[in-house]
Amino acid sequence: MRIQLRVWRQEHKSKPGQFADYELPEVSPDMSFLEMLDMLNDQIMRQNGRPVEFDYDCREGICGQCGVMINGRAHGPLANTTTCQLHMRTFKDGDIIHVEPFRAAAFPVKCDLKVDRSAFDRIIQAGGYIAASTGEAPEANSILVPHEEAEAAFDAACCIGCGACVATCKNSSAALFTSAKISHLALLPQGRLEAKERAQQMVAQADKEGFGHCSNTEACEVECPQAISVLHIARMNWEFNRAAFF
């Protein structure tokens, strides 16, 4: 199939960017979106151009490193699918596809489609852990966790940290990301003790990084590759308020 691309090109964070138009005459429907971009780069290099920089590593939907806006949607038109798992059969012959980096004040563009998501690391550093050091931990089965709670904790813990939730949010809020970690740890008995401070510190760090506030649009849940539920945001707010009032 023939695909026309409008791709964001920006050589450096300090330089202005603009869209550039490309055409790929022979895209196979079996290609993944990133393989289509590989093909584009191959074509650009044959003409001695500078290939498009874009992020990826695992190419199987789990590392969270890939992610671009495709026709205005984080990770493209399919719900709950990373960019690397999107295949060209989702598009039609002759389609024009706009490709842009994830946009947010807290995610500055580094080059072309690559953005700096280190703010997520700093949110975790602020308290997204259980303070258990390596060593003689208690026997694992001495901490019982009801099946449903373990599964609920998993549903929050499976976040891949891609940033689609931020990119898709009109306020560039990191509420889904932050709440997923708060919720994962607060749901487990091992993590309950530190829940209050964790919520306070992580939320404060997210604010400091320049992420916006959540206004309950719930767009993030749709784009999240792991379909993490917005209910975790409610839990975060509860933990946060509990920390403030009790």
């Binding site: 050589e11 079996d30 290099m45 969270g64 280190s118 390596t134 026997e139 694992a140 813990a157 740890l185």
Partner: protein, 638 residues
Amino acid sequence: MLDAKIPEGPLDKKWEHYRSKSHLVNPANRKKLKVIIVGTGLSGSSLAASLGESGYHVSSFCFQDTARRAHSVAAQGGVNACKNYKNDGDTVFRMFYDTIKGGDFRAREGNVYRLAECSVNLIDQAVAQGVPFAREYSGYLSNRSFGGVQVSRTFYAQGQTGQQLLLGAYQALMRQVSAGTVKLFSRHEMLDLVVIDGKARGIIVRNMDTGEVERHGGHAVVLATGGFGKIYYLSSLAMGCNASAIWRAYRRGAFFANPSWIQFHPTCLPQFGEYQSKLTLMSESLRNDGRIWVPKKKDDNRPPNDIPESERDYYLERRYPAFGNLVPRDIGSRAAKEMIDAGYGVGSLKNAVYLDFSKAIAEQGEGKIEDKYGNLFRMYQKITGINAYREPMRISPASHFSMGGLWVDYELMTTIPGLYAVGESNFADHGANRLGANSLLQACVDGYFIAPSTMPNYLANEIRTGPIDTRQSAFATAEEAALQKLKGFLAIQGSKPVDYFHKALGKILYDDCGLSRSRAGLTEAIAKIRSLRGEFYHELHVPGGGGQAMNSELEKAGRVADYLEVGELMCYDALNRDESCGAHFRVEYQTPEGEPLRDDKNFAFTSAWEWTGLDTEPLLHKEPLHFETVTPTVRSYK
């Protein structure tokens, strides 16, 4: 002579003996010592966090944009530990035996026993960190069974065990970053190792965002850089997985053990086209209910559902009646390749076999199958567009795990004093074939328990060394060489992109040093790789002569340049080993029925190779394997 430094005493007391006798570093002295850890997968993150907690200064490096994306994240199935929660007779010894046997009796008893011993504690550690392992309704931890064993010792978190374990380690690491003991350097790629007076003293890295080349010094260097199965280009690994860090160390004098032992996973998605970059793994658990077959007729182009039962060859069930579709990975993969090579492959490129669920669906109902494998069927459909409830999946073997790696002794130290290798980057525990769910375990125990106990034995003598000065000439020379190499890639100005060479190398290795090997093929492969390497340095095209900072093609060029040397070493290794064992199948050494023929008399050793220069044969050192506790037997799955 290679000294593995296996402690004296009975097998089950070795680790305890070691720990009670090795040197320690006083807490007050730890802050005088700096450790460089390259890699933030399970092994690197867990080690960095553990050393940070105990008070050392740690610098942690990875090439991804954050530590949490290391490829450990992709492990699906689970992690083994002999907790015996199922009361099914599991013990440390049984787990040790399963691992030694699974590795076809080509691993060290002492190391493997320790792996099993430490497994128990690992689960406690992970649970304390909040890893949400699957639970029974009673709240107790749940287990499942995995290939090659008769007990249920695999702990799991849905199909994302590696991710959950890694996040546990990553969070522990982030905690140390905020405590100020660990400094993070993400998007930094190691280009060289700096050795001064015979000791590892630092590394040269490239900041992949700014393009700058930097020097980092430390009292010890740890490589936790993962596997290099990506050398075949198509694999279940991540795009950035590489051998560069261990290869640079090899060229600086560290020995490389069993480089050709690469595990091919039997249930990956096949290649669909030339542009393809990845062969996604489909969990092995599918083989519990899926039946593997090919058409009995060669080049049969009928859709699978039109091929009647009588014209299908369920070749695993036919050849291995006892284990059937559940034979170990090496056997399943090799059998698939044999069918494909003989012309029975299916799919548009004739490079796959069928994994068929129709019988299981008929017997158990679609709902039951969906409960068990729904996410995998969805993933399969996402990638291929095919509904596997209606027609069989197409699968093929893909490069997956490197059993070989840097040679390390019992302390996980390489042949360069002060240089350690942990996790998949070392060769230590899996012999010639790795059992499922044992490598997450190995990466974790190396990082949480083993290296933190063995490194002080070396570091205790470094307390008076003082900070490592990176202005020393060894740093300057290594940095200059790294810069020249990068400039060299840009200067070639040929017409072929890096991927062309990577794919060509992958093809040579897959054909001649993959699932089966022969003397003639390997000899030829060495010549082909050398000529490809020549072409690389004449024909390579890396854009960006203008010196732009971010340059993915330049990063890839460095990795492939190293792969072009690693591939040659793999062939030498495979050529040297005149036997078949585990993943290493030499066609000359097989029984009349086509089963591998191991030669314990002549080959019960680890091959540890020493670099002697480009285009020359490397030097082989042998570490004999002593079996004091077990008696090697023939692995039979008939």
